[in-house]
Each structure stands twice: as C-alpha cells, then as structure tokens.
Symmetry: D2
Subunit: 428 residues, 4 copies
C-alpha cells in the first residue's frame, strides 16, 4: 500500500456517502482487544459503543479467537448454506442446553440472513403466514432495521424517508411511557383491539424492543410488557420481541425479558449472538408457528459457520452459570453512578435504559453531540441515541473490567463538565 495507513482520503474518494460512524470517529482503526480499540497512529480508545451492542463480550475474546483459529487451521467449513455442519450442531446444542432448556422454551431456531433486519423480516413473515393476517403493530421510536419490511416497522423518519416506496402493513402505537406517566398506552392498544371499527385490523403480531436502543433507551415497564403479551395472546396475534440490541445480556439477563412472566412467540437476535462481532441472525419461534417452508425465507449466508464457532464459545463461557449475571449487575451500577454524575450537571437531564443499556437524556442533540465529541478527543468512543440524538448512550462491553469502565466514565464526565461548564468533581 502506497498511502500512509492513517490517511483517509481513499475512503472519501471511493466509499459511499452512506458511511456514517467514521465521520464522527475520524481515524483508521487497526486492532482491538477487550474494551479497547487502537488506531493506525497507535492511539488507544476505550470503546463504549461496542459495535452498537454487537460486542457484548468485548473485542477478540481470547477463547473465541482461539476456537476460530483452530477451526480455520483444520479447514473447518466457512460457508455451509444451511447444510448440517458440526459447528452449527455444537452451537444449537449449547444454546439448547444453556439458554432454552433452563427457561422452558421449546422454540425452534431459524438461522436467517446474518443481520438483525433479516431476522425481523423473517419474524414478520412468519407471523403473517402463521396467522393469515397482515398487520403488525409496532411502536413509536422502535427501530427494527432498514430493509423494506423491517423499515415499515421502524419509526425513525430519516430512515423511513429513504424507502422511496410505500411502507405498509404496520400500525403504529405509542410505546410505554410515550404519553407521560399518567397514561398507560396499553389502554389504547386494548381499546383498539377490542373495537371493531378502530381501524386497527386484527394484527398478525405485536412487535417491540423491551428497551428501544436507537429510539432513545426507552425502557418498557415489565407490567406493560406482560400486559401487551396477554393482549396479543387474547387477540390471536404473535408476540415478537426484537432482542437484537437488548438481548445477549445487555439489559441483565440473556434475554431482555428474562424474569418477566412473558413467553414471546418469536424472538429476533443478531448483533452479539455470534459473540465475536461476526454477522449472524437468529429467530426463535414456537414450534406451532414455525411455518416457513424449506428455504421459503432463504439467504446465502444463513449459515455463517465461523459465527457458529464463536457463538458456541460465547454461550458456554458466559451463560453456563450465573457468574456473568453478577458482573453485569455490578457494572450496571457503576454505569448508573457515572451517568447520574452527568445528569446532575444538566438541568432536567435524566437517566434512561436498563442494565448495561443506559444513557442520559441531556435535552438536546447538540449538547449530547458536543459531549461525545469531547470524550472522543480524550480517548473514549461513545454515541448518542434518540429522536433528536439527545441521549448519550453507553453500550460498553459487558466484560469491561470495572476499572476500565470507571476510566471511561471519568472521561465522559469530564467531557460533560467541560462542555457544560460545570465545575463539579467527577464521580468516584
């Protein structure tokens, strides 16, 4: 290569204008380990973005890495379409043993195209075919992907505007909390479901994220979730929980609905399911609703065998016992304290989210953006979220050592202090 490694002119010249994160974090990254990532100039950053929750176990986990190198060295299958492979089998076995069985889940596992959007598209098709209905209820601020079917369910106007064609088959209702504390939006859902002329056609599915990742870390209350689940069941609609971002431990349990009295018909997973940041999509579906025929929803990469290798290690390493749950709980507390320090600097700021999927709403996207930019200058990668990017969102790897976590939070707190002019002592 003739150009200097850290030069970015080539990207500007040849990469599409659709590129995005690289604009805010304008350097060339070369390696990463755990919760830290290093660029071509040798500078190391703490990573509180973690591939938007795709790297819940951090970068290049040693066990996964070694398993993958071993797989490669042995000429293990790299691409297997949906053929049976030993690696897929081992993953299914681990997932059944450590995830499904302990929760009494009889769900079938469907490996879709290796993206969250593809899993969501499959889920919507399953619900529609299974019920013979078309309409899917989705919620304000929900984000489910940008392929046409998933985009219909996504609330974000910027993304919707890119569709260029009719986004149909979705009825939008207010998410929990959208109408303020005094209104339970499930009342509206219930009224419309029970009203033959509400204009809400009998739905194939009700779909939501329990914590809305892109929509601003809005966390639904467990009682809202269980009530909506009950309404879905009563009205013959499938309950789809989109756990692409909130799953894999991000909010505490493996699933974001662990510990609630709810059994979704369908769960969509992607992001951290491979454990290593490799592309993988997974739909869990109750056996009675497993209605897609052979290859009816297909895709060349529905068996990313490398991902099965690392995904198996992730399950066996982190979910075979409760140790990891304890780590998450403890780290979530650390994050919470850090965010509270920031909230105290901004009038009206308040914390959002749940578990290790937390953020602070600082009122405006401008302020949140300035704080994140300042943090990046000081060695922290962190992003915003929400309708107006008004929420500083922390998606640190769940495996981040407490000390590193605190260090990252300190950078963020200092950035907030500098930007807001607050003269407070950073937490800790």
């Amino acid at each position: 290569m003739s150009t200097k490694l850290s030069d970015t002119a080539l990207f500007a010249r040849r990469e599409s204008e659709a590129r995005s994160y690289c604009r805010g974090f304008d350097t060339v990254f070369t390696s990463a380990r755990g919760s830290e990532i290093t660029d071509a100039k040798g500078r190391t950053y703490i990573d509180f973005l973690a591939g938007c929750s795709s790297l819940n176990y951090g970068h290049n986990d040693t066990d996964m890495k070694l398993a993958l190198i071993e797989h490669l060295s042995a000429d293990g299958i790299a691409h297997g379409l949906d053929l049976h492979t030993d690696t897929k089998k081992a993953f299914i076995q681990a997932f059944e043993t450590h995830i499904l069985k302990p929760r009494g889940m009889d769900h079938k596992m469907m490996f879709t195209g290796p993206t969250g959007a593809n899993a969501v598209e499959a889920a919507m098709k399953i619900a529609r075919k299974s019920t013979g209905r078309t309409e899917v209820v989705a919620f304000t601020n929900g984000f489910h992907g940008v392929t046409q079917g998933a985009l219909s369910a996504t609330g974000n106007g910027y993304h919707r505007g890119g569709a260029g064609t009719s986004l149909n088959g979705v009825t939008r209702l207010p998410f929990d909390g959208y109408m303020g504390e005094d209104v339970d939006t499930a009342d509206l859902l219930e009224a419309m479901l029970n009203d033959a002329s509400s204009g809400l056609d009998a739905p194939a599915a009700i779909m939501f994220e329990t914590v809305q990742g892109e929509g601003g870390l809005n966390a639904a209350r467990p009682e809202w979730i269980t009530r909506v689940a009950k309404l879905a069941k009563e009205h013959g609609a499938l309950l789809i929980i989109d756990d692409v971002q909130a799953g894999c431990g991000r909010t505490g349990g493996f699933f974001s609905f662990d510990g609630m009295d709810v059994m979704p018909d369908i769960v969509t997973m992607a992001k951290s399911i491979s454990g290593f940041g490799l592309p993988m999509g997974l739909v869990l579906v109750r056996p009675d609703e497993d209605v897609m025929g052979p290859a009816e929803h297909n895709g060349t990469f529905r068996g990313n065998t490398h991902a099965f290798v690392t995904a198996r290690v992730a399950i066996e390493k982190f979910w075979a016992d409760d140790a990891f749950l304890g780590d998450i709980t403890r780290r979530a507390k650390i994050v919470e304290e850090g965010l509270e320090a920031i909230a105290s600097m901004v009038d009206g700021a308040y914390l959002k989210g749940r578990g290790m999927m937390r953020g602070v709403d600082v009122g405006t996207g401008e302020l949140a953006g300035e704080i994140c930019a300042k943090a990046f200058e000081n060695g922290l990668i962190v992003e915003t979220s929400g309708s107006d990017d008004e929420v500083i969102k922390i998606l640190a790897p769940l495996t981040t050592p407490d000390e590193t976590l605190r260090r990252g939070l300190d950078i963020l707190i200092a950035a907030a202090a500098e930007v807001t002019g607050a003269n407070k002592i950073a937490a800790e």
Copy 2:
C-alpha cells in the same frame, strides 16, 4: 457433546423447518478444502454447488485462510460498524486498482448489510431516491432475495407467497428469450416506456441478472442487455445489474457484463465477493447517484472486517492479471462438454447459462432431482434450478482443478445415464 457427531436428530428437534439444502444432502459436514467437502463419517464429496456461487475460489483457500489467521492472531478488528479500518482500506484499494480502474468505473463502494438481498434493497432505495420515482422494472424468473423490497422484484412464486403482505413498486416484464426466439422482449419494454398509458409508470430503475441463477440459468444476450441499458438511460431510469450470483468470475469476467458495451449505474455484489464464503454485501454506484445519506441505509454488519481481509486477498490473487480468466475459459469448456453428454441422453434437453454458470435443462424437475440425488450417492454435490427445478446447475468453484472437474462431471454423467437408462459412454 454426547450425541454422535454424524447424528442429525438435534437439527430435526431444534432447527426450523425452514432448513432446506440439508434435506437433500443429509449428512453432517465437518471440513472442506478447494472443491471438496468432507462429512462426519469421513466421506468426501466433490462440491459443484459451492455455496450457490459463494465459493468461487473454493473452500478455505490457503492464502485467504492464512491472512485471516494472521489478522485474528494480531487482534485485528473483527467488527467495525462502518468505521475506517486498515482492512477495509486495503480492500477498497485493491478493488479500485484491479477492478474499477481497469474498467474505467468511477463507482463509489457502499458496504451494505452482508447479504445479496440487503445490497439489492439498498440499490432499489438508491434508485428511488435518486430519481424521485418508485417503480422498478424487474423480469420474469429474476431472483433478488427474500426481504420485502428485494422479494417484490423476485419472480419466484414460492418465495413471494411467504411475504404475507403487499409486494409493490415493481413492474414485471418478460426477460430476454421469454417469448421465444422470434420475439425481442425489449420491444415490449420500449413500447411501454414510450406509451403514456401503458400502465408502466416512469421507472426508477431497470434491474436484472445477466444470467438468472435461480431462475434457470437463462442468459440474456449481450445485444438485449445493451439495448435495455440504452432504454434505461433514455428514460431516466437507473440500470441495476444484480451480479450477486453471476459476478466474481462466474460467467467469465469479473463482472458478468465485462466486455459488453454497458456501464450500469448500480451493481450489486455479495456471495463470492469475500472470496472465502464470509458474509459481505457491496453496492457499486455512480458518484452522481450516491444519494443515500450517512447511515440512511445502515446495518450493524456493514463492516464485516474478516470478510475485507479475505476479499482483498481474492482480488489480489485472482484478478491482478489475466491468468485466472484463462482458467475459467478452459474449465467452462470442460463443463460444457460434460453437460452436452448429459443433454444427449434426454430428448429435448439443452444447455443453459454462460461461462462456469452452466446447466442442462432435462425437461422436468423430477428427472433433474433424481439425477442429482444419484450423483450425491456417488460423491457429488450438485443442485437444480429453474421454475420447476428442471435444470441441473453446475456452480463448481472456478478454481476446481481440471481433473477434479472431470471427475465430478463423470459422476454426474453416470448418474444421468443410470437414471435415464441411457447406455452411453460418459464423455472424455
């Protein structure tokens, strides 16, 4: 693992009924190298399916494998969202140098979600946004994926039936050859484009595969392709060539339209673009039409960094000079001869496709299926294609040694002979 490695009960119990190829090739695969793949019982098969053209360079190419192991060992980035990384940069550079520049292509590279369907969804959105129009012209027997937007353009009724909602924004027209030799279907396209009340709204794009992979290896004539390209230009529609399956050398040149007087506005790629079977999607788009805003079409895995590593090696190894082109041409001739031997056994059978994307139409899906099943018994993996699966389709790795290629063809010829009762001597 307590179950015997070759046992498949777990798949039946826990994997979705959507699984497909594993039903026809019912064994557990464990390793693969070049054009051969081995199962848990130690049996080795010649692979003429090659991940549906995702493994054009064979399984576990040594150079790519070593590069990936090296990358892993050095804690190279695994998941980088769309951040700048050294590996992405190296791939872009190689692609610019060896692919784009020699062809005078000024296209921008857009890394979409890592599937062909996602690349197609992005292409359709770009065309719609860029033109301010909605309608996309697609063709009979075209296959572009099964997410909702792509599925609208896909012709296959089985897949379309899985949508469960309105598939709109696409006008379907007959592909080249669809109305027999005496009718140039571009006449109909032209008439409808020129007719203000034809019912064909001014299209955002005209999209097709030059050789329809799933649709039965129907190969459009270069003169049809250039005429349609010209019509697109005259009528302000973008020309999208979907090279997901036909690209990366499959039909001869790197692009399936190499050597034709045509410059598509958009090219979609996936399958073999990573070289190693890893998930990757790529859209090439003319700079003027590169209209997706930052993250407007986003996706968590739009930077599958491992795929960049192997994709770079693939470009540098196979496309830096013309040696590989010569290999493909020679092997295509071998395939052709083998298929002619089969065609001679079945009344009315005839060859289809182009380059190393060839097949033989044996009249019925039943016969084609029996021949493929018999071939599998004898150590060859090969699949069917077409509206009724009536085409035996050969998608052998382009790197298959001539001797292995002949051996695989011999198995296929023998299977055909046995099934048809033909008493012919296999070719060669």
Copy 3:
C-alpha cells in the same frame, strides 16, 4: 309485471347478497313525502333514517320537485360531463352567495364523481399532490367510504376486510374522547408530529368527521378540532373535514364546523348536498391547493345536472337566511328530550352526537337492534350505529314538523320501553 308489487322474491333471486337495509326493513317502498315513506301495502312510516342523512330536507321537497320537473320538461341537460351548463352555473352562484361568501371562504368547487367516497378519494389525492407527501392521518371509528383510497381511511373492520388488498398510506390515531375524558388525544398527535422517530411520516393531511356518523355519533369538541387544525397548519398538512354526513345542516350550521375558529383546506360533501337525494359529490378546496389538473381526477357523472337543479333550490330555500337554523335548533332539543327518555330506561345509557345528528348508546348492539326492530313494527324507520351497533341513531329530516318528530320519538320510546320492560311514561 306479473308479480304482486309487495312481493320480494325477485330481490332474493336476482339482487346481490350485498343488499343490506332492505333486510331490516323488509317491505317494498313506493312513495315518500317529507318525513314519511309509504310501502306497497299502503303502510306509511316515519323516516328517521332519511337516506343516512341524504334527505336532510325530506323526501320530494315540493320546490325542488317542481324545479326538476320544469327542467325535464324543457329538455334541460341531464348529463353534461363537466361541460358548462346553466344549471351548474346557477348552483355555483347560489353556493357562492349563500354559503361561501358569508363565511369568507375562498374555496374552489370541484365536482367529483357523485358519491361521498369519490369526494374523499379526490380530497386525499389533492392533499398528496399538493404537499408531495403520502401519509394521511385518520382516526378511530372514522368512516369515509369503501373504495380503496377512502377505505384506507375508514376504521370499520368489516368494510376493511372486504378490501382484499393492502390498505396503505394512512396512519390511525385516536379520535377525541377515545381514551376517556382525562386524555386529550391531540396530545398524542402533537407528540408524534413533533417526534422525528415516532413513525408518523410528515402527513399530507389530517382528515376527520367532526361527528362520526357511522362510528357511533362521536362528536369532537370544538377545542380539539381547532387544536388539530392548528397542528395541521404548523406541520404543513392539509386539514380535510369530511362533512359528507355531518354537513348540510345536520349538526346545526350548514357546515359542521360553523362557528368554530377553523378554516379547513378541504371539505368533502355529498349525501344531502343535492337536497333531493340525488347523487352528487363536491369537494371544496383552497385555491392554492386546487392542484388537480384538468380531468386528472375525472368521472363520467361529475356533472349530475339534475342534482344541480335541486341543489340550487335547497341552498336558496334553506340557507338564504337564518330561519332554518332556528328550526334545527328547536328540533334538536325535541330529539334530545326524546333520547333522554330512552337513556333513562337503560343503565349506563348516554346520549351522543350533536344537533340533529343524535343518538343514544344503549350498551349493546343487540338491545339497540331490538328496539329499532320493534319501532319498525310500529311505523318508524330508525337505524343503529357504532362499532357494535350499540347506538340508536336518529337522522330525521331537518324539516320534520315538530309534531311528526314527537310522534316518531314516541314510537321509539315505546319500543324501548317494551324491549327493556321499563314501565316508564314516554316523554312529552
């Protein structure tokens, strides 16, 4: 005719099963005058259905009738497409003079196909073309017709179920009062309009009936209407008031929004606009938004010249001064008293609607149906409304003599008493 006039076998044999009102009022009607209608057996009924508010001036108003006979006798134009005719001109003049000018309305008059649904289809097209946006906000329990565009906006599930295809381009929100007294549903509309990721795309229009005729006589509060109008304006959406059923004096003023501080961009009219029950559709649209090109929204019967004749008489006879307004107010009071008498017989029953568009919600469709059936036995035609047909709806001609009105109400009250077993003395 060989069959006896009152025999209905021919209808059963040859008329489609889609026929409806004739099932509940199973006799053959032959003549009508004012508020009374007579059947083939010579029985006369008081008509509180009035063509679903299409006969606000009663049956066969003498002045209109004579004008039409005169027009016929003089070989006046019956069918004029959208040619200029003297009768159309006279109607426009009367409408401008007595309706538009006094209200300061500069609206253009667009004669659509002669149905309310057609007027609604035109209104939606105008809003979409004028704004370049697609989405129309419609409300729970709204009814706007059953052609595909209008049906998308209609809430009724039975009618929606008849579409057989995707109903898109409409976002459904809760109407005023839908979430109970403590929630102002305009809060939700405002929140979603102001939220870039609410999933509500910037709307082309906000459309509603001020009193929902088919949806159960839900009357929006003036403050809700003006607030929604203000929100529409602020967000660049057109305000469409569908006055097909609530207009022409039904709720008091000529328009249902008379006296409120609101100036709709578009008003749709049909039903009573011809005055005589003849098919006619009319869209009023602000000059700046009068964007349909010549014949862009066309239709053979957009000039029903006979309807222009009677429509002109209706305007000149009833709306040239305030006398008629006084009659409506007085009669509305009579209706209200009658309905209160019924409400007092049923636990939880309550009055709905506004002006002469009133009803009583008796809790269940079964009870409401029984009361109406009993009333019909006793010489009164009256229908139900609402999601479950739970509202007894009175749409008596606005011209009904007070005595006739009381007589009809007495029949209804007696029917209610008989069905409910209430031993109350009927009002009066």
Copy 4:
C-alpha cells in the same frame, strides 16, 4: 342571476381547475334533445361525444323523460339507499327478462355507488374476496376509473400520477395487438400463468375492456377474448369484463361480448345503463362469486331510484326485440364510411374500434385535436382518445338518425380536409 347566462367567468372563479371538457367546448349548454345540444347563445351542436357513451339513447329520450316526470309527480322514491322499491324491482325484472335470461346468464345484480369506477372497485373486491388472492391482471391502455383501486388497474400515466400513493395489486400485461400483428399477447399471459417463477402471482381476476374506450379504441379480437377467458378459468381467476363504456349497445350487442363464446364471471356497467345519463353503477356477478356481505361494499347512492325509472324504460324500449340492433349495425356502417374518408386524407391513418365505438388514428394528438377544434367551430362535438390523443373518437348516440349522423360526419370530414389541406370531396 345578475351575470349573463353565456358568461363563463363564474366557472373560472369558483370551479376547480380539474374541470376539463368545458375548456375545449367553451360555451354554456342549456338544453339537449336526441343527438343535439344547444347552448345559451342558441347555437345547436351535433353531439358525437354523448357523455362519453353515457347517452347511448340520446339526450332526454321522450319515453324516459315522461316516465321520470310521472315518477316525480307521484312522489316516487328519489333516494332509497338499498331498500326495496317498486322502481328497482321493475328494473330488475326488465333486465332479467330482456338481458339476462335470453343470454342464459344467472348473474346477480349488485347496485354499487353510481359510477363506473365504483363498479370496478366492487368487482375487484369481489374477485379478491372470492378467490382469496390479491393480484388483478390488467392491460396496457386500459381505463377503469380514478379512485384508488380502479386507478391501480388504469394504464394512463397522467391519471396514475395523481394518485400520490402506491398503486398496487395489479400486474400489467400487453393487450391484444400491443406487440404487433405477429405476436399473440395471450401467449405471454399463458406463459406467465404457467410459470411458477414468472413473478405473476396467481391472479384473483383478469380484467379488461373488449374495446378500450379511453385507451384509443383498441378492439380485442374475439379469439383473444375467448382464449383469455379460458386461461382465467383454468387458473382459477375470475374474468371481469369492464363494459362501462363498451356496453349498452355501443359495440353492437347489449354487451360488448355478445356473440362470443365467453361468460364473464363479472361484468361492470355504468354510463348508459340508466339510459338517461343519470348516475348508476351495476355489477353483474355469478351467484357463486356473489361474496360481498350485506353492505360490505356500500354507498349512499347505490339506489338512485330515478335512474331505475329511466333504466327500465331503456331496457324495455330498446332491448325487447332486435330492431335496435339493426339500427346500430346500419349506423355503424355509416360511421365507418365517414371515418374512412378521413383516413384517406392522412398518410398512415387507420380506423379503430368496433360497432358505434369507432375512431380514426391520425398519427398525432396535435392533428386530431385541430380537427376536433375545427369541427366544434362548425357545430360538432367530438373528442379524441388514445395515449397521445391521436385518435378521433366517435361516440354518437346509437339512436342518432342516419341523416344527423351523416351531417355530423360531414362536418368532421370537412374539418379534417381543412386542417390537412386535403382537397378531397367529403363522403356521400
């Protein structure tokens, strides 16, 4: 009225820009009788437009007029929703006796909203509900109305452009003759119906006009019609013949398909069905496919009782015996001769259409428009048709006296001669 009767300023001031015919025929019409129409200045025109085939029996037919006056005088029902009325009964009886029974048609009669578009919307809904399928096959240059469902099937780009939202659920195929004489477009239909991956989903209906009125008087050959009918039957699709413009004697028989070996599942009628130009819509549907539930497809004016009065007279007067058929045949010959005279003046001009639905394609809309404008100057109302308005279309009342017909044709021929500079002697 203070303005002079012939002044048109009021229309410009208050009528929507959507007005159309009045722009080409810019005068104020006041009365009409038979085939002649008179304006406010006392000038009389021969009417070869006839309400776009809505006045097949001419203006103000004496018998119909008297029947309507009698009905009015007797306080006959004007508006009856879908209640049983004596007038509806009499019409059904006449239609059964003189139209349905002689043709062995067991169809049910569904009175839809009183427009052709509404009948088409109903037909499409019936087909979709009856088959459980969505897609409707429509054809190039077809015109079925401009409400959203009907507009989806309409080919005209100007009208489609007014939709402002997705027009879906329709697949467009080439009409008979669209690909020239050497191609039978039913071959394409058949191929796509038989091909599981053609992209044509199993259709609910195949719908067309036998002669395309707005599309340029393209007349399908009887053999094409019967073949398409057979294909529809074989593939479980309903055959819908849209006879709104071509029916009621316009092309010879009462139905445009009379005398062909075809029994449509559904026939849509409007325009001339009332006989008098009054709004009326009618769908004929086979009993097994009469699946719309009570009021599922409803509409306030589905019983335009005045129209029943005149419609009955029309059936009894013109269709009780074969006399009228003979008149039509003779007059069609006269029209043909006149059009041939025009065709002979323009290179490449040729006749189009069938029966009394004839025209001449003069190559360009500009020329056709000039000829029509010149004819209007000389006392003839005649319009153009076709994708570019290149066809001069004659839709004279079928009752036009031969002499008047010749007089009108002479005006047209003279206009053509003047415009083209042809020095030919007008026919006759």
